[in-house]
């Protein structure tokens, strides 16, 4: 198994701990505002559309499209060297919010803007399981 220990591991905060917990359960959660219905990611204590404090967790379908991407030819730190070359992308989820991720399990050169992708989860430590994306199976 790949060693992820030297990577820049996220440190969950009080308002994101539940989100990281859902990742450990292999669920990609986003927030939905009970007031105006807007979806948002990353997690916030208020709705960034209407400032309502009533934001609830909903499970994303985990599908989206590549908005933009790059292929890293140099690692950001030693621990990322084994992954080279790796894709960093912005992905727009079907529900609307955009998130950053890697796109794995494919040739980096095969990634394209507009490509459908779906979420998968990678365990980096006992605390951190991180969402990753891979090309969506043709449906």
């Amino acid at each position: 198994m790949t060693d992820h220990s030297g990577k820049f591991l996220p440190r969950p905060r009080p308002e994101t701990a539940a989100w990281w917990q859902s990742c450990r359960e292999h669920k990609l959660n986003i927030q939905r505002c009970s007031g105006c219905g807007a979806f948002q990611f990353y997690p916030r204590i208020v709705c960034s559309s209407c400032m309502s404090g009533k934001v609830e967790w909903v499970q994303s379908a985990g599908r989206g499209k590549v908005v933009t991407f790059t292929i890293c030819r140099l690692p950001v730190a030693e621990a990322y060297t084994a992954d080279l070359p790796y894709v960093v992308a912005l992905i727009r989820l079907e529900e609307g919010p955009t998130m950053m991720s890697n796109i794995g399990e494919c040739e980096p050169e095969s990634v394209a803007i507009g490509m459908p992708v779906e979420v998968t989860f990678q365990k980096w430590s006992d605390d951190i399981t991180i969402p990753q994306f891979l090309p969506a199976l043709a449906s």
Partner: protein, 382 residues
């Protein structure tokens, strides 16, 4: 408001001076240019140094100089923030808080960073929970923007490379520039791929260096020995911090900062004789040229490719060589655009002088296309 003194330190590799010493060296040169003593400074603005940070940076510089300002503040970032501080200092003078502000900024990213600091710099870009873990380098963050611009507007790697070629041609005429050897579009495209589509020569330099200016009210401009340069307009725009949260990947808040600065100056893009545009990476310049109104959206690539930004072109740009060829010491990077604009408007730029330059625009951006500030400068008070 007037810039009454301006100066750069040596740039490139300056191992014999610490970042603090370079900051003082820049200050000393700018005060000498303004013909005033340190004791006439009652406002001080600095930016923090990554290689030699202080909790209270401006206060540390004031202490070093044994000056006791009424207005004292350090910026914790560079890019657009640099020009924001100029606007804020000008506002402080206008409000009567202080009279003579020294803005001095320096850092040593080339020779001054420890391994630990270099590592920390990489890991501090991006959202610590939702971006940084994915391993994007700083060029990779900007590559996301470049790819989006290519996809939306058909911008090509050759057009991005033309930005680097344009800057280098100007640097070749600037004895102070760190990189002066002419390059071609092929050289850029053949340089090492860092993060597709950005090659090594699409990325700015890593330098030591510092620069400083002295700011005073326009009424006092005649009291200083050299030609003053007047701030005609200033504007800021802020759209996000983290690129995954950007409103748009291809249109930036340079649109707002530019419009605000033009409105204050009562001028438009067509009135600008020389522009110094933040060029940390080549695609950034294309987006800024469009958002600042010099080109329609999607047309900046062709504009630069057709020599639009050459010294003899319609918009001479980054006449000192920019951060791609002159120097980029991190947070102070945009200061050299400002001192170059002063040099151009004083018409003492020698081989790289833009004929009859009357009005200059300088633009800075920081974060990942996050924070933008535009200044419009003139030879004459409006």
């Amino acid at each position: 408001m007037a810039i009454v003194g301006a100066a750069d330190t040596e740039v490139g590799k300056i191992p014999h001076l610490s970042p603090t010493a370079l900051c003082i060296d820049a200050a000393r040169r700018a005060l000498e240019d303004a013909g005033i003593s340190k004791d006439q400074v009652d406002g001080l603005v600095t930016c923090n140094s990554m290689a030699e940070p202080y909790m209270y940076h401006a206060e540390a510089i004031a202490e070093y100089l044994q000056i006791f300002p009424r207005y004292c503040i350090s910026a914790n970032a560079g890019g657009g923030t640099t020009f924001s501080t100029i606007q804020h200092a000008a506002t402080a003078i206008a409000a009567g808080v202080c009279d003579t502000v020294l803005v001095t900024m320096a850092d040593c990213l080339r020779t001054g960073l420890s391994r630990e600091q270099a590592k920390k710099m990489q890991s501090s870009t991006g959202h610590p929970e939702f971006e940084t873990p994915y391993g994007a380098t700083v060029p990779a963050f900007y590559a996301l923007i470049a790819r989006a611009h290519m996809d939306t507007y058909g911008t090509t790697p050759e057009q991005m490379a033309a930005v680097a070629v344009s800057g280098r041609r100007h640097a070749a005429r600037n004895p102070a520039a760190q990189m002066r050897e002419l390059i071609t579009v092929e050289d850029v495209l053949n340089s090492r791929m860092i993060a597709d589509p950005l090659h090594l020569l699409d990325c700015s330099l890593v330098s030591d260096g510092g620069a400083a200016i002295v700011l005073a009210s326009a009424e006092r401009a005649a009291d200083f020995p050299h030609d003053s340069v007047y701030i005609l307009g200033a504007g800021e725009g802020h759209s996000h911090e983290h690129i995954s949260q950007a409103r748009s990947l291809t249109t930036s808040a340079a649109l707002e900062s530019g419009q605000r600065a033009y409105r204050m100056a009562g001028l438009g893009a067509a009135d600008i004789d020389v522009a110094q545009i933040y060029d940390c990476f080549t695609p950034v310049v294309l987006i800024e040229l469009e958002d600042l109104g010099f080109c329609e959206k999607g047309e900046a690539g062709a504009f630069v490719e057709s020599q639009g930004t050459a010294l003899e072109g319609p918009l001479p740009m980054n006449t000192h060589g920019g951060m791609l060829s002159h120097c980029h010491p991190g947070n102070p990077g945009a200061m050299f655009s400002l001192t170059e604009a002063v040099t151009q408007l004083r018409r003492i730029a020698g081989d790289r002088q833009v004929q009859d330059a009357e009005v200059a625009l300088v633009h800075g951006q920081g974060g990942i296309m996050s924070s933008h500030a535009t200044l419009i400068l003139g030879r004459e008070r409006d």
